[in-house]
Point group: C2
Chain length 349, copies 2
């Protein structure tokens, strides 16, 4: 691993009998002031030496790093999560198309305590930041001053005035409720994720909204925390059905928990959708391949990621002042929901 010294613009200048400036001008195509002969001489020297400008020096000079940061929360192996993966894919693709590179950071307590999130800007690591998996407890978002381009992706933070791009989770809740009610369900259980996530609150609001309008309530006895995980979803479903065997349908705050719920229901001898319907939210790739294939609300996660990245770039280049966008969602009907069986239909209990 012997580091041979990197070739710099000086070497090119010497090799081509031109000045530093001339080389730089040629390379950056600054107005056509350089003669054809000189240009070719420089270019051939560049080729010969294999010269490539140092991005460190360029960034230092231009005061732009060319990096975008992605900040994800600390979860069990954060990046192994399909939801974050999808967002990150979208962001990196969009960034690459615009000649930006992506830096990945995990906002664990130690990280925040040491103000590493602020260092990101202060020490010129990045030109803009995308925050994923944010909750209402993430007060560190308040630290970012107005002149730091920051966008919250697929979420909002109650009480903090930040730019965001999100899906319409209130509408998602309404669609799920409407679907189940139209099938004839009356006693519907709800498995929720972390309540400190704003979109989770939106989802529930939309869901309850429709239920209330139809005079169907959502008592806390039909509500369980599924911890956003498969295990949690399974446990929640079992708890719900044990407490209230009259439940004929379950709405789960995400697909992971929905898949867990189906597995939990099977464990206690319930068939899906014959005995209990299950509807999820997200439409992860895997949803199509469970047994039964999962009916769910499709949320355009990839598009949200791509859009957030694009708008962040606009923020950086001052093409935009403020970003607040909400994307439409839709129902994706598969095999995990059906009409309740006659005779068990709510009235039994």
């Amino acid at each position: 691993m012997a580091k041979r010294k990197a070739v710099s613009i000086k070497d090119v200048a010497r090799e081509s009998n031109a000045s530093l400036t001339t080389v730089s001008l040629v390379l950056n195509n600054r107005d056509g002031r350089i003669s054809r002969a000189t240009r070719e001489r420089v270019l051939s020297a560049v080729e010969r030496l294999g010269y490539r400008p140092s991005r460190l020096a360029q960034s230092l000079q231009s005061q732009r790093s060319g990096f975008l940061g992605i900040l994800v929360p600390q979860l069990r192996h954060a990046f192994a999560d399909i939801y974050f993966g999808e967002l990150i894919s979208a962001i990196q693709e969009t960034a690459a198309e615009n000649d930006y590179k992506i830096i990945l950071d995990v906002a664990n307590p130690r990280y925040l305590e040491r103000n590493h999130h602020l260092e990101l800007f202060r020490r010129h690591y990045i030109d803009g930041l995308l925050c994923l998996g944010v909750t209402n407890n993430d007060t560190y978002l308040d630290d970012f001053s107005d002149d730091h381009p920051v966008i919250v992706v697929n979420n909002r933070v109650a009480g903090i005035d930040l730019d965001f791009v999100q899906c319409d989770y209130a509408e998602a809740g309404r669609i799920a409720a409407t679907h189940l009610c139209e099938l004839g369900h009356k006693k519907i259980g709800y498995i929720h994720g972390a309540t400190e996530v704003q979109t989770t609150a939106d989802l529930r609001d939309g869901f309850e909204d429709v239920l209330n309008r139809l005079k169907l309530s959502l008592p806390t006895s039909r509500t369980e925390d599924g911890l956003y995980t498969e295990e949690g979803g399974a446990a929640a479903a079992i708890a719900l059905l044990t407490r209230d065997p009259g439940i004929t349908a379950i709405f789960s705050g995400n697909d992971k928990m929905a898949i867990g719920a189906i597995s939990g229901l099977k464990q206690i001898g319930k068939r899906v959708p014959d005995d209990v319907s299950v509807i999820g939210c997200d439409d992860i790739h895997h949803a199509e391949f469970c047994d039964p294939p999962l009916t769910t609300i499709h949320t355009p996660i990839f598009e949200v990621g791509a859009r957030a990245c694009k708008l962040l770039l606009d923020l950086i280049s001052s093409k935009a002042e403020s970003v607040r966008e909400t994307q439409a969602v839709s129902l994706s009907v598969r095999k995990s929901t059906a009409a309740p069986r006659k005779g068990r239909n709510g009235a039994t209990q």
Copy 2:
């Protein structure tokens, strides 16, 4: 977004009536040459001004970027894949512990054609590179010269002499074959992933090795490509059983395809494991929550990622010269494998 000028070391020097050098010396704790009084004066100015050294300037000076690159292949939404996610989690965690940050790049054809992978080093983006999801077709790996720290993660490349950290896939194949044979299976199908991946070849070699030793062959008729996806796994399982209904067990090159295979088998009325046993490889988190829970080979992916990152850092700091490591794998028995039913046991066909 009015950018107020960032405070530099010069400002601190002025504010504290000291020279640039003194400030730098204080900040970097260079030998105790600075008097207590001066040190405090400087530190208080730093505090007052909120000064943080520019990492661009530091990197330019030190010729170390403080970044590690992760290069992943272009797949459908690469980062949404659990396998890559797990590796990336491990790498980012290890990097952060060592004060390195992670840059994410996707090696699509355009990227490689423009030699962006070489620019990574030449233009001082990164100090070292980790290549994920590499195949034997990835000749671009040959471009990296000896003085560029590069490690291939959980793979090798036939014919190219590169550093790597991997799981013992040959052993994984042997374990799977042994498990199925011990249960009494004779006609075993095999769903493979991309044949251009070296570890896939290792896996098959180990698998066939045991089969051959027991005088059980693996004819091509019992072999199908599952494309590494759930859909592919489902289609492959259906194809296998259609072609040879006597098959009583299937070994799948990864868990995703195994889960797809189970779903495919159900579609054609086969029960798992009653009619057909299925064993996977990887032990992804989800494997525990399928129906039935998947028997699989546990590969320590997270550890491989962490180890690869650690060794890359050793390479960078010249603590290591060359890296070649193979991690042990183990059998994780769940509910998707069982002894074949009497009377259908191979002899039928």
